[in-house]
């Protein structure tokens, strides 16, 4: 019961954030140089009649709050406007839709890989703190944290694509192939996935280690040991389960980092994802696409945080549902 109340409370708490987010996205077109109608028309803006016609059609002559409301209702019904720079006249929602799968494939697979790297490393480091193993991987995590991931990406291309010629250096599919094939897709996915995953894994390893150390200090671990349970049961059953709980939250909060990191990684690898779309939209001053991206990225982040918090509350009964 308390959990439901907590979830509802968090859901209500997110509404003002969504409102501010939509306001931010809405204001982009009005902050852009030139009037919105002439911006939207692009090349054809020299014709005053066309500008006026568009202004009337989009209701740009109305007061701003009314414009905001009509824009919001259009967005909610799935109409994000039309692209003006990248593919003039093409619906933005379709443009974004084409990019969802590559971005999702890249971020989900790299998150999984990051977990696969981070959990064993973090746990092993925590079992013998300040041992050689621990210090070595702490140092590595630290170094990876400072590594510009686009540079790492270029160095990996240099080694695996240019020198060894094992993996393709860019794109999502070999243009010589007539149809989509999974092995080809994975070959293209591998390098960007590793780059993104390494960055994520560095932070996760430190986190798992810290959380594991904290749990190992607690009394129920001492009790378990005192009962005479074998140490692997204590570590991998009692301690690990509790240590991994906070990871749920961290995964939710890592969404913006993944998406931001993906902007650079996607650019290096020519991966046709949403991050690269955003960069291209900036170059061609495609404001409707940018507005949609801001809205989408922000929305995903908020939802990620919300889901993480609620999952955490479900998993850990000790959490207090009442906010202080």
């Amino acid at each position: 019961m308390a959990l439901t109340r907590y979830a509802v409370k968090r859901l209500l708490g997110i509404l003002p954030l969504l409102f501010l987010l939509s306001l931010l996205s809405f204001s982009i077109i009005h902050l852009a140089p030139g009037s919105p109608a002439s911006t939207l028309l692009g090349e054809k803006a020299f014709d005053p009649a066309a500008v006026q016609a568009l202004e009337e059609r989009l209701g740009l002559d109305q007061p701003l709050p009314l414009q905001y409301l009509s824009w919001l209702s259009r967005v909610l019904s799935g109409d994000l406007g039309q692209s003006i720079g990248l593919k003039p006249g093409y619906p933005v929602i379709q443009l974004l839709g084409e990019r969802v799968f590559p971005t999702l494939a890249l971020s989900v697979s790299s998150l999984l890989l990051a977990l696969l790297i981070a959990v064993p490393l973090g746990v092993t480091s925590a079992l013998k703190p300040h041992s050689f193993f621990d210090r070595f991987f702490s140092f590595l995590a630290f170094a990876e944290f400072s590594l510009p991931n686009f540079w790492l990406a270029m160095m990996l291309i240099l080694v695996f694509s240019v020198s060894l010629n094992w993996l393709p250096s860019s794109g999502m599919a070999d243009p010589r192939l007539a149809s989509f094939s999974w092995p080809d897709f994975f070959a293209h996915l591998l390098l960007p996935m590793v780059v993104l995953a390494l960055g994520e894994a560095a932070a996760l390893t430190r986190y798992v280690r810290g959380s594991m150390l904290e749990v190992l200090q607690q009394e129920f671990i001492r009790t378990a040991k005192a009962k005479g349970l074998p140490s692997h049961v204590v570590f991998y059953k009692h301690a690990l389960r509790n240590a991994l709980l906070p990871l749920l939250t961290l995964l939710g909060y890592s969404i913006p980092g993944l998406l931001s990191g993906a902007v650079l990684t996607e650019t290096v690898f020519g991966w046709p994802g949403m991050g690269r779309l955003a960069v291209n939209a900036v170059f061609s001053r495609d404001y409707p696409v940018l507005m949609a991206e801001v809205l989408l990225f922000g929305f995903l982040t908020l939802i990620g945080n919300l889901v993480a918090d609620i999952l955490y509350a479900c998993a850990d009964p000790r959490i207090r549902y009442e906010q202080p």
Binding site: P16, L17, L20, L21, L24, I28, L31, A32, P33, H130, F142, A143, F145, S146, L147, P148, F150, W151, M154, M155, I157, L158, V162, S169, P256, G257, L259, S260, G261, V263, L264, T267, V268, G275, A278, V279, A281, V282, F283, R285, Y287, L290, E293, V294, F297, G298, T301, L302, N305
Partner: protein, 373 residues
């Protein structure tokens, strides 16, 4: 760092001291480029000051006609502009745009038939300057691998990558520094207000920080760049303004715990104004975590700037920054990988040093985080 114990502890941390030493060296080198500017590029010519386009056109033109011609000295006699340039070592090639245009027209007019070999002319040019290490920046061959003359190789315009990395360091370091100053002043001010006054002001500022942090930073940066256009000043400002929430949160938390303490009560009792209490009594006590945060931020801001410049949305060429050198390097990755390797490596070293120093400071300033013996 008033506490001698903390200083001692910091100096005992080898990695942090190495990081600090490296950073000092980097800042010295960056400062040296300013001095070098003042001396008229006497020591290291600014590769960006060269009129790259004209020069590379001339270079290509001459190498294409490499088959024909005469002695280099004849060429020099023919074109006094060139011999002028050679006579003043250490100066950037002082040819005005029009002069080059003229030179190219004349080269075309005579068809270079009476020149022995344009390549020998180029070689001769190099020989004249052989005694100066970086001189070849002026008019060297394109895409040279690293060698004693070009420590880091040369790029597609024949510019020395080492000199460019050096000039880029001052851009990257100062961008990071200024962005952190902006972020910290905003964050500290808002954090103090939120923490000290609490109530409505607190919840407004903190909700704002929530929204700010819930947006992917890169996305916001991209949007603002699309609105304001890409240049150095807006890059600094944007990175600074973008990063205010986390220092604000940190300062707020510190202020919240500090304002309950006795010394604040004492300050109130002797009639200090609120400004005095915040800035003279509370803030100095919250300084330690702020310093650590600022150091971490410096690293983050430098990474952000190079990321933006890498995308072509930050510092614009021909001004060198590690980011735009890297994006240049990406296009020449197959033919001249050193163009991508060295700027990125410097970036990595810088960020790593900042992180080590931050970690060292954190451990030194906060006894609870120190490792056991």
């Amino acid at each position: 760092m008033s506490n001698p114990d903390a200083l001692h502890y910091f100096l005992g941390n080898r990695l942090a001291v190495c990081g600090l030493a490296l950073l000092c060296l980097l800042y010295l080198l960056a400062g040296f480029t300013f001095l070098n500017d003042a001396l008229g590029h006497a020591v290291v010519p600014d590769p960006d000051e060269l009129r790259i386009t004209e020069k590379s056109v001339l270079f290509r033109e001459t190498s294409r006609r490499a088959a024909c011609a005469l002695d280099g000295s004849a060429l020099l006699a023919e074109f006094p502009v060139l011999s002028d340039a050679l006579a003043v070592p250490g100066k950037a090639f002082p040819l005005p745009f029009a002069g080059f245009r003229l030179l190219r027209q004349r080269l075309a007019a005579i068809g270079l038939e009476n020149l022995e070999s344009v390549n020998s002319f180029v070689q001769r040019f190099e020989v004249v300057h052989e005694n100066k290490v970086f001189e070849l920046v002026l008019f060297s061959s394109e895409n040279q691998p690293p060698s004693p003359t070009h420590l880091f190789g040369s790029d597609e315009f024949g510019r020395d990558v080492f000199a460019r990395v050096l000039y880029a360091s001052r851009i990257s370091l100062s961008v990071g520094f200024l962005a952190v100053v902006i972020a910290l002043s905003l964050g500290v001010l808002l954090g103090c207000l939120a923490g000290y006054y609490g109530g409505f002001l607190d919840s407004v500022i903190m909700r704002l920080a929530d929204v700010w942090m819930s947006l992917p930073g890169m996305m916001l940066l991209l949007t603002f760049v699309a609105l304001t256009g890409a240049n150095l000043a807006s890059t600094i400002l944007l990175i600074g303004v973008l990063s205010w929430p986390s220092p604000a949160r940190l300062v707020r938390a510190e202020v919240l715990s500090l304002r309950q303490r006795e010394f604040v009560e004492a300050a109130k009792a002797i009639g200090c104004t609120q400004t005095q209490i915040i800035f003279r009594h509370i803030l100095p006590n919250a300084l330690a975590p702020i310093i650590v945060q600022a150091t971490l931020f410096l690293a983050g801001a430098i990474l952000l700037e190079s990321g933006l410049s890498f995308l072509g949305l930050g510092v614009q060429p021909p001004t060198a920054s590690w980011g735009n050198m890297l994006s240049n390097g990406l296009s020449y990755l197959r033919t001249s990988p050193w163009q991508a390797f060295f700027p990125g490596f410097m970036l990595f070293l810088t960020v790593l040093s900042f992180n080590f120093v931050a970690e060292g400071l954190r451990e030194a300033l906060d006894p609870k985080r120190r490792r056991g013996p």
